[in-house]
Symmetry: C2
Subunit: 325 residues, 2 copies
Amino acid sequence: MAKKQTSAGIDIGGTNTVFGLVDSEGKILEEGNISTRHFSDITGFVYALYSGINEKYKRIQSDFELIGFGIGAPMGNINKGTIENAADLPWKGVIPLAELFHTHTDLPVVVTNDANAAAVGEMIYGGAKGMKNFVVITLGTGMGSGFVVDGKLVYGHDGFAGEIGHTSIKPGESGRVCGCGKKGCTETYVSATGLKRTLLKVMADSIEPSRLRKLSFDEIDARIIHDAALEGDHIAAEAFEYTGKMLGFRLADIVAHTNPEAIFLFGGLALAKDLIFEPAKRYMEENLLSIYRGKVKLLPSELNTRNAAVLGASSLVWSLKGKEN
Amino acid sequence: MAKKQTSAGIDIGGTNTVFGLVDSEGKILEEGNISTRHFSDITGFVYALYSGINEKYKRIQSDFELIGFGIGAPMGNINKGTIENAADLPWKGVIPLAELFHTHTDLPVVVTNDANAAAVGEMIYGGAKGMKNFVVITLGTGMGSGFVVDGKLVYGHDGFAGEIGHTSIKPGESGRVCGCGKKGCTETYVSATGLKRTLLKVMADSIEPSRLRKLSFDEIDARIIHDAALEGDHIAAEAFEYTGKMLGFRLADIVAHTNPEAIFLFGGLALAKDLIFEPAKRYMEENLLSIYRGKVKLLPSELNTRNAAVLGASSLVWSLKGKEN
């Protein structure tokens, strides 16, 4: 019997790197992880990662044939197979990641950022199957996005399309300071961190009691605000309302660029369901040009969240295969 | 000898409809126009337009073969070949323009809005030859845009991608009222009309003398402001500076969506050259995420301006041909 195929999905994060061997249906056959921080030297990291994957592969090699490596990484450049000046990773400058992988393997290696990987994952395994024009917005510590136009991921001329988190909510005004060095970037409002920052503003302006007043900025996270809002905490609810409002504004502008069929929300903040979806949808519709109103679906990502990044990364290899056919 | 090919380009405006027969190099062989306003009935309009083009075609028929009709029209939907609820045209609702043309001809008929036509024109005849990822911004009475990704015009799911004029400069604030019914749309700041509105604000805030103080709002146009600025009028110069600033903000956001190689400015306001390009470039660079800085070209359209709309429309047919090859 012919072997089935498997794709290796790798999600490189600042702390840990998670990987999995995935079949064409999006089922994770094997998984593992290594510490990212542990490796100040990129060559050692790639060797350890490749070896770790290979070890897992041996367990399924009798039934599956590995066809390639898909890698999601901060500042991953799909045009060049590089990671470029990623602030959160131990390796500085331009890292030729695909090239380093190719010292170990001749299989295809695709590198992109996690939001682009999530977009391809949604198209291959998730809710965007059969869709030609859609956008995936990732809402984690920061805010990212992947655009699909006419069935293909938009890379851009320099390989860095879709940096929605760094569009401006308040251009030229005294917006919130962003880690990128600019002010007023959308992700300073719309992300887990943005939600926290908004919570503090709401708390400062209001005299409503809230159990969150007992917690420090560092102790609070999106999950705690979420739980408080569900328990009827007005300050937490207002922070979500404002976050959804800013997201809705941004979504309306995104629609005016590429007129997608659907926008998927992916990542931690998207798990807050109606707390984020309801205001986001309301403000999006309110700010859409009339020709778009009532037409654009706002949907939760259908990728399993724990493994979503690995699934997204692995899907890059299948999309490559689609290209060749 | 084999005949050369010609494409009919048609630009439908609220007042007049201009057409031309164009060769594959972008040379206009024959041209003509009919009144748009004159025809309250779309069937009569299409008949008159088709007949007018056919008459011109007879003059060159011995040397050229007509291969199709490209039409730029407000609210032109490329997916459906329709004009949908265009406020400035005499015909209400959804007009099946391509279908009506096909009662007269079996040749391909492509309908899209003028900004999309301009983008394809730039790619076929103009400064975007050989570029795969670029954006054309049209700055006339309003503000439009056409996005090209991976060598193809972005249509969007509903055929209405690229309505940049209706993204928000000031979301949720008391921005300027837009003809679309929203507030704070970019085109209320960045367009010939936006420039005029800004001029009035500057004039109101300042006590500087200006010969423009002798003119009414209705008497002022972009050309007059342009001439005044060149003559050293501070108020006119400040109006351009502010317009360029708002444009620069918008351009930075556009780059964060599709990461183009270049952005072309097309239409009346773009003729103001440095008055608009200099501040637009400066504020764009200031607001770009660092990975994009210094990489995106801001260029004037290379389409001949008097015939640019006709050229753009005619190019739609050549791009169709490219698709078939």
